[in-house]
Amino acid sequence: MGLPFEVPETGGSIYYRNGNDIINPRWTVKNAQNAQTTNRVYGTGQLTYDFNDNLNITYRAGLDFYNERNHAYSNKGGVNSDVDLFGFYNTWDNNVSIWNHYLALNGNVTLTHDEKLGLNFIVGGDTRAERFNRQGVSSTGQIVFDVQKHFNFENQTPIQFIQNRNIIGVFGELSFDYDNYLYLTLSGRNDWVSNLIRENNSRFYPSASVSFIPTTAIEGFGGSDSWGINYLKIRGGVGSSAGFPEGYPTVNSIVQATKQDGGLAGGSNGIVTNSVDNFQANPDLKPELIQEWEIGFDARFLKNMVNLGLSYYSRSTTDLIVFKPLPTSTGFTQTQDNIGKVEGTGWEVDLGVDIFKSGQADGFNWNSRVNFTTNEQIVTEQEDDQIIYTGFTNLGNAAIKGEQLGVIVGTRIERDENGNKVVGADGIYRGQEEIAIDANGNEVPSGTEGSRNIVPIIGNPNPDYVMNFINTLSFKNFTLGFQISHVKGGDIYSQSVGTLLGRGLIVEDRRDSFIVPGVLENGEPNTIQIDNATYYFDNLGFSSNQEETLIFDASVIRLKEVSLSYNLPKKWLDKTPFGSVSFTASGYNLWYDAYNMPDRANFDPNVAGIGVGNSRGFDFLNGPSSKRYGLSVKVSF
């Protein structure tokens, strides 16, 4: 680290390699940057007119407008790719505005004479207009070192992207309540979206829910003094909602590109090309429908010291909208389509206990809460054998009938008929790109009648369950909070760990030699000895023919948050204009242990490496996660 990283004459990167073909990370820290400044304005204005005590009409307009000003640059003098060598500077603004207009008629009515049965109703409509407008400039070819302005670059190309969508809805809701212990709500809504054709652009989705509070209904049951059940509410509901596509999936288009490589004939300005877009229009695209029913209860016991909430739900999504890859020989490579049906169930449990509860205002209190969630969504209906909806053609998340949505598919180690791993003549495993499965998901020989051909399933990024343990202790004016989370299960494909292993950085003993377990092509057990470097580099860390070797279990226990806050005593604030003042020091992500991953990797499965999208369970060489410390002051007037 003490060696120089910059060439004195040019400011370029210099590193240990003889041919200087790897960029020095310290040079990158000094000479490259991605930054964003966001300005945001949002607010609503509301007008209400009361016809009488029971009926009013409301109009609300909301605007959320933000501008993200982005810039990304690297000075010239990096290594390898053209943009590194010659420098680049990209600036672009994302202007996003979301307009909401809401108009509704609210009313309440008492339906019976004894005033036990009441009705609230809402009827109205709203619109949502989303406008996304990106504009910017991309410059390459830096002239003077370390000046990041567009006039200092030789070539400019535009950055421009526009996406607009309107959603219009009308809705109605009826809420009945009987004597404060029985409630029934019925609602229905219909949405229309602007980027689908008229025949397919609307979706109606109703819902209903019921809740019953026995402790209020039945005399003598419940109440704050008893050691038994203090409060109980039983609830159930059926709901549905719709999802809409983004972009413009119903039309074909022509892609035009400038400054393309036209060789000598095209000259230094390049050529302009037109080409039919590889995205196939799908005018039959419909909105997706999510339906769910749920039952559960909330209860308080033991003089309100214990809180228990439990829900069980079953969710089914039909016409799920995904980006579906198409066979290239059709002339298109992708389309947006509704795929079959995804169904699943889940549990949510929340238990809170006041371990210590002091009667005095500034006594010692300790409240502890555990919540537990688990969910499994399985693809139950689908025409295609497999849809790899995100990732690459041979590594990504896929929808396969009979499997959980989002299983990771990729190349795997070849297996023979008995399930043994096959070793090649060079002593390392052989890879396999495609397998066949039958209707029940069992592997069958390729070409079997009625089998489905898929890229092998190598992992499942969905966790078995997620648990959070949240504690709050308070004494006098101090409050200490800490939160521990446990994610169990869920696989991750980690290139970070693969690189650490493949380069021998976290291997315990680099002198070991290996005979990988498996059989040779002729069926005999493997006896070829390979050295440490071959095992970790060729076989495990950097073998794209068997991505399966980079799948790890991502279970992790994490100390998510620790915070200590101090409220100024009220009597100090008597003569001041402040109502309350509190200081909080907090730390986030202070400790974690991914206990099933290789020990010395210290890998955090929580790295957000894939950006916004439907991907799950992939890490392509991300930086480490961070601990965050903060101090905040909260003042009320």
């Binding site: 080409s275 590889n278 290239t328």
Partner: protein
């Protein structure tokens, strides 16, 4: 104040109303980020078709060159090197890039004004179709590009699609009746006559593949002159766009060269003395060196570890061996680890031993199948030269110079760098006039006419050497006095033709799998491969069609697996297409492949 309140109250609904009209708009379907389907410009579509054709042919040249040992193939086991993603590029170039654009042009051609563009595009399409069949076997055809009716197209029989491609060529020929000077034609500059010659050449190529030797000999109006050569010319621009030859962009960087040249090819072209032969009459000639070697390869270092070069001593004007005669050793474990290793057992006592690790006179490359990591040799390994990559002409001496007082040793001052040599202004050769001559030579040989075969082989050598030599001036800073003289070229061609004439029609293999002596097809095959440097697509066909040359480098891996007879179906297709499942291995034979094996594989 009240009025103020009412004004605001009145203002808000007006604002909402004005904004509201836009927010309630439905059926807003058109994509503002692209052009609409009826806004396509046929000239710009033609640009896209030409660049996609170039990309597809480049991939076939690279794969064919690797399998034919003309280029360096990385990776020990054939099955692991050529997975389902190997042909993803050309498959997509044909079906999802070229064919939809050609259909769009066809739909705009009601008045026949686009006949030239359509004819040229269909010729390029047919060539890619035939190359895909050659490399893969069955491909999609009748059900292609019709997603409404065939969302999961099935494969057609390869022989039938080959015939369809030939009919497409006839259709294209019929459309190419008039020149077109308006559109940008990056291959033949708008000349319909040259496109027709190219089409006839493709048909001649198909005849050769199918074994119709008489048709090959009878073919007329084909590529004969340099001006008819089917090549893509690159430029020297570095950014926006980078229009340099791809091998140049990889090799001529600020961090040194990044590709390896093929040791087998360098050894074949080296002769046994290099230019020393011209200086020292006492050295007996066993092999003349190929006059094209200074154009194909650019050496950066005077000696390869584990090998040697000549040393010219100014004191007495004689040649010695460097570094051995000075008492040194060129072995260097850091830059070329194999220089410290023993020859692998299966290579010992075979001709491979001469070049499995290093070559004479500083030619530093790798042999077939080497899969080692990269040592710090970016500025010492041999880089691509001025042909066809537009790099530097190799004007290094074939020896180092020791001053008379033995104090000063002059080594190479050579190295790659951005913008050096021809700056990337090279070509991607697709079909050259010299290839035609070798096709004719093969056809005559198969028909039993050895003298005509020799005549055309000689013509092929001449045309190839002259074409390659024309690239010398592209490197403005080179010392072209090192270019081969007329006499050298004549001596080389004569020596090769003598070798050919004196060889028998067929010889047997020794116990090590190598031919006891080279026969006529070995020699013709070797020279054909040398001429195909940079355009190796047809080398893979040649090996499978003839089983020659048997003197190709064996793999450094004793068990590389069976040599592929065809490659896998692109994974991008099998992953999304229910009706096509992947092949089990690389042994499916294309319809024209009789299965003849080459002992080199």
């Amino acid at each position: 104040m009240k009025r103020f309140k009412y004004i605001i109250i009145a203002f808000l609904p007006v604002l909402a109303f004005l904004q509201g009209c836009e927010t309630t708009e439905l059926e807003n379907l058109d994509d503002p980020n692209n052009l609409g389907p009826d806004q396509a410009d046929p000239a710009l579509l033609f640009n896209s078709i030409q660049t996609n054709y170039r990309d597809a042919v480049t991939t076939f040249n690279d794969i064919g060159g690797d399998l034919g040992r003309i280029e360096y193939m990385f990776g020990r086991v054939y099955r692991e090197n050529y997975t389902g993603s190997a042909l993803n590029g050309p498959w997509a170039d044909l079906y999802s890039d070229m064919m939809p654009d050609i259909t769009t042009i066809e739909n705009l051609n009601a008045d026949g004004s686009l006949n030239f563009v359509l004819g040229a595009s269909k010729a390029m399409q047919a060539h890619i179709m035939m190359l895909l069949i050659d490399y893969m076997g069955d491909i999609v055809w009748t059900e292609a590009n019709n997603p409404a009716e065939f969302p999961n197209p099935t494969l057609d029989d390869d022989e039938a699609v080959y015939q369809a491609a030939l009919s497409l060529l006839d259709e294209a020929k019929g459309l190419l009746t008039q020149d077109n000077s308006i559109v940008l034609d990056m291959y033949y500059d708008g000349s319909a006559e040259k496109w027709v010659r190219f089409i006839n050449t493709l048909k001649m190529r198909a005849s050769l593949t199918l074994g119709d030797y008489q048709a090959v000999i009878n073919a007329s109006d084909v590529i004969e002159a340099d001006g008819d050569n089917m090549v893509f010319e690159y430029g020297t621009n570095q950014l926006e766009p980078d229009n340099r030859h791809p091998d140049y962009s990889t090799d001529y960087t600020a961090s040194g060269a990044n590709e390896y040249r093929s040791n087998w090819l360098m050894n074949l072209m080296l002769g046994n003395e290099g230019d020393v032969l011209k200086e020292d009459d006492t050295i007996p000639v066993t092999r003349f060196d190929d006059p094209r070697r200074r154009y194909y390869f650019y050496r950066q270092k005077e000696v390869t570890p584990g090998n040697s070069t000549y040393l010219f001593f100014e004191g007495n004007g004689q040649f010695f061996i460097y570094p051995d005669d000075l008492g040194g050793s060129s072995v260097d474990a850091q830059t070329l680890i194999c220089s410290t290793q023993e020859t692998p057992a299966h290579i010992q006592f075979t001709p491979d031993e001469a070049y499995w690790c290093s070559n004479f006179l500083g030619y530093w490359g790798r042999t077939h199948g080497n899969a080692e990591g990269i040592p710090p040799d970016n500025f010492t390994r041999t880089a691509s030269g001025v042909y066809p990559a537009g790099g530097r002409f190799d004007d290094n001496l074939d020896w180092v110079v020791l001053s008379a007082d033995q104090s000063e040793l002059t080594l190479y001052e050579a190295g790659v760098g951005i913008g050096l040599g021809a700056g990337g202004a090279g070509i991607e050769p697709i079909i050259l006039s010299s290839f035609i001559e070798f096709w004719r030579a093969e056809a005559y040989f198969k028909l039993g006419n050895n003298s005509m075969a020799a005549e055309h082989m000689m013509e092929g050598l001449k045309e190839s050497i002259n074409y390659v030599a024309s690239f010398g001036p592209r490197d403005g800073s080179a010392n072209l006095s090192f270019a081969p003289s007329e006499k050298h070229i004549e001596d080389f061609i004569n020596s090769k033709m003598d070798e050919f004439t004196n060889a028998s029609n067929s010889t047997s293999l020794g116990s090590d799998g190598w031919p006891t002596t080279k026969d006529k097809m070995d020699i013709m095959g070797e020279q054909f491969f040398v001429a195909m440097y940079g355009a190796g697509a047809d080398a893979y066909n040649f090996i499978r069609r003839t089983g020659y040359p048997r003197t190709l480098a064996r793999s450094i891996e004793p068990n590389p697996g069976t040599f592929p007879r065809s490659l896998l179906i692109p994974a991008s297709e099998t992953g999304a297409n229910e009706n096509i499942s992947q092949k089990q291995d690389l042994q499916t034979q294309v319809f024209w492949d009789s299965g003849v094996t080459n002992p080199a594989n």
